[in-house]
């Protein structure tokens, strides 16, 4: 593919349309993004991050892409976000209009726009940089705002939009699983549990009025079935009133790729999901092992959908498992997981979600030998699957993921000497699958639910 920023391409020319005149439309969309009413969702952090970066470079010292690339200028967090700041200065500030050269304002050209598009997809919005920035400036947020503006002029990866949010709204899930296929899958899972564990459990589907609706990332059924099976065994062991749901009830996929690139798409998907929960009259929505879905339901939803319009509780499956183990509602025996296990803090669950202790308590209860990865918790490195990257493989993009984030992560995992990497996020699983394959690591990954189910004492 044509080179626009570096040797990778996240977005093809078909979407990019380099021969059209896009700059005026971009500026129009950006103008709208700076209006606090039209773009209220992140307006304050957005303008603060545009205006008050001190150019101290602290962000760069913690950014996995910058560090692992041998400190390439184009991957510097502040430089990358400056692509947007330069436009802002030049067109939307007085100083920049009068003295662009002084304050770093720059004319936007079609070529620069191409580079900006690709640059917006070289950062996973992991926000490690925002955590350490002395002024708490958020270059990740600026990248997300850039993606939003681009989405408004129809530039978005088709994995996330055409075949992501749009498909999810149309089919009920982003994988495009129709209801008969879904039923076949659930039946197969029940058989598998019987074959591997030797007992039969019922997996309820589309039960109305259930206490818990467990909504997984639909990709888990296809690619990480062990997580779904594990969850079913856990809910069965807990003896609670629970259900899965099929696409016939509306949305049965907890993902929301709008989190990654568009508030408009985000809200549409979220409302459809909420409607499904209301139609099913469930009491608690259990977010399966999916990082960004947890962020969406636990935090982003709060001010977007008024409380009275969502008459159900939201819990991460991690919170529930942790609670049930502590209450003794489910019993686990760590000797059933003797291998050394380490845990990767998904950005969306940890730094953005605050779930640090839950997964650790669970793993310590269910595994003999739990080992911390260094660094961890708020300083955890993004695995490189975040913000949609896990499902973006076009061109050489997979290589980009492996040679940057993946490189750091592989080394971290190796250093622990663990045989299993426990993960609680689908995108992390997709990324680790590739990392393990690419770096030939002698480890396997496992969903937390899988490890818990393995340790269950019935």
């Amino acid at each position: 593919m044509r080179r626009v920023l570096d040797e990778y391409r996240a977005i093809s020319d078909e979407v990019l349309k380099p021969h059209e005149k896009r700059v005026p439309r971009f500026l129009e969309a950006m103008k709208k993004s700076l209006d606090s009413r039209a773009n209220w969702t992140f307006w304050l952090p957005y303008v603060l991050s545009l205006d008050t970066c001190m150019k101290c470079g602290t962000c760069a010292e913690v950014c996995p892409v910058y560090l692992s690339s041998g400190r390439r200028e184009i991957y510097h967090p502040a430089v990358r976000a400056d692509a947007l700041r330069k436009i802002y200065r030049r067109y939307f500030t007085l100083a920049g209009r009068l003295f662009p050269w002084l304050v770093g304002g720059e004319e936007l050209t079609e070529e620069k726009l191409d580079a900006l598009v690709e640059g917006s997809y070289r950062c996973t919005v992991c926000r490690r940089c925002a955590y350490v920035c002395p002024v708490a400036i958020d270059n990740g947020l600026l990248i997300r705002e850039a993606r939003k503006i681009l989405d408004a002029i129809d530039i978005a990866p088709d994995e996330l939009r055409e075949k992501g949010t749009r498909k999810q709204l149309e089919m009920g899930n982003a994988t495009g699983t129709p209801t008969p296929a879904f039923m076949d899958i659930v039946e197969f899972l029940a058989e598998e549990i019987q074959d591997t564990r030797g007992y039969k459990i019922e997996i309820p589907v589309d039960k109305r009025g259930a206490e818990y609706l467990v909504m997984h990332n639909a990709g888990d059924y296809l690619a990480f079935a062990e997580t779904v099976m594990g969850a079913a065994e856990i809910f069965h062991a807990a003896g609670v009133d629970w259900t899965l749901n099929s696409p016939a009830t509306g949305i049965n996929d907890v993902v929301n790729y709008g989190v990654f690139f568009s508030d408009v798409e985000f809200e549409k998907v979220l409302r459809a999901q909420v409607k499904t929960c209301i139609d099913l009259k469930i009491r608690t929505l259990v977010v399966g092992e999916c990082g960004h879905a947890f962020e969406a339901f636990k935090y982003l939803m709060m001010r977007l959908i008024p409380e009275e319009e969502r008459p159900f509780e939201v819990k991460s499956i991690l919170e529930l498992i942790d609670q049930w183990i502590r209450e003794g509602r489910i019993k686990v025996d760590p000797r059933k997981n003797p291998e050394p296990v380490t845990y990767h803090d998904a950005c969306k669950l940890g730094r953005l979600g605050g779930l640090y202790e839950e997964p650790r308590r669970i793993l310590k209860a269910c595994c003999m030998d739990f080992r911390e990865m260094q660094p961890n918790r708020e300083m955890s490195y993004c695995c490189g699957g975040g913000s949609g990257f896990a499902i973006m493989t076009k061109g050489d993009f997979l290589k980009f993921r492996m040679e940057t984030y993946g490189k750091i992560k592989a080394r971290q995992v190796e250093e622990t000497g663990a045989g299993i990497v426990a993960l609680a996020c689908s995108n992390c699983k997709g990324q680790f699958r590739e990392i393990i394959n690419y770096y030939k690591l002698p480890v396997r990954f496992a969903g937390i639910s899988e490890l818990v189910a393995n340790a269950l004492v019935l």
Binding site: P45, K55, C56, E61, R303, E378
Partner: protein, 219 residues
């Protein structure tokens, strides 16, 4: 030259103060009237007012983020910031009638040295790639004020400075006893006008980025 002294010593102080106050208040109002954005905090963060204050004090006093993650510029930046704190403290003490010349001079030396040191750091590859001319200009301005204060003897003239400031504040402005002080007064005026509109407003922006974004919004 009488009219120039009049301009710098009598007229500009009011213009500068007015612009500073208006600009500053404008910014603060603009930020505080922002619509409540979606929750976007980063964990872990301090929850009680006491914890938050503690974090702020530690950050302001030790520049901990730089110390932990960007050692390369921690000392120069610390030196410069402490110099500025000292000069500001000196100004307040002068107003209160406690002209501690040593504090002023120490602050001036620290800020001058720190800003120069930062300037050289900015020329290094890692910072150069993200520095625009205005960043160099900001450092030069800090250097000019602090070096100016030393060279013109401003920091040693606490009593004269006090008298002049009181004159300004009581709306009966009089030119300072020593005309050479006008240089420093001019630099300070430029600084005041520039402050709300440049990046040096970060000390105020920081309040919002921390309290309203990074630390959640009390929920």
């Amino acid at each position: 030259m009488g009219w120039l002294a009049y301009l710098v010593g009598i007229v500009l102080p009011y213009v500068a103060l007015a612009l500073f106050v208006v600009g500053f208040i404008y910014k603060i109002i603009c930020w505080s009237r922002a619509p409540r954005h979606l929750p976007w905090e980063l964990f872990p963060y301090p929850h009680t007012a006491g914890e938050r204050l503690g974090e702020m004090v530690i950050e302001v006093a030790s520049l901990r983020s730089l110390k932990l993650h960007n050692r390369n510029i921690w000392l120069p930046s610390l030196l410069m910031h402490f110099g500025i704190y000292a000069v500001v403290a000196w100004l307040f003490l002068v107003l209160l009638g406690l002209p501690v010349a040593l504090l002023g001079y120490l602050g001036g030396v620290a800020a001058a040295a720190g800003s120069l040191w930062m300037f050289t750091k900015r020329l290094g590859r890692d910072l150069r790639i993200l520095t625009t001319p205005v960043e160099y200009l900001n450092l030069l301005l800090v250097f000019l004020i602090s070096a100016g204060g030393i060279i013109t003897g401003f920091f040693g003239e606490g009593l004269a400075v006090r008298e002049y400031m009181l004159g300004i504040l009581s709306l009966s402005p009089r030119l300072p006893a020593r005309p050479s002080l006008l240089w420093e007064i001019f630099f300070l005026e430029v600084f005041l006008v520039y402050l709300p509109f440049g990046r040096m407003i970060h000390f105020a922006a920081k309040y919002f980025t921390y309290h309203r974004v990074k630390w959640g919004e009390s929920h």
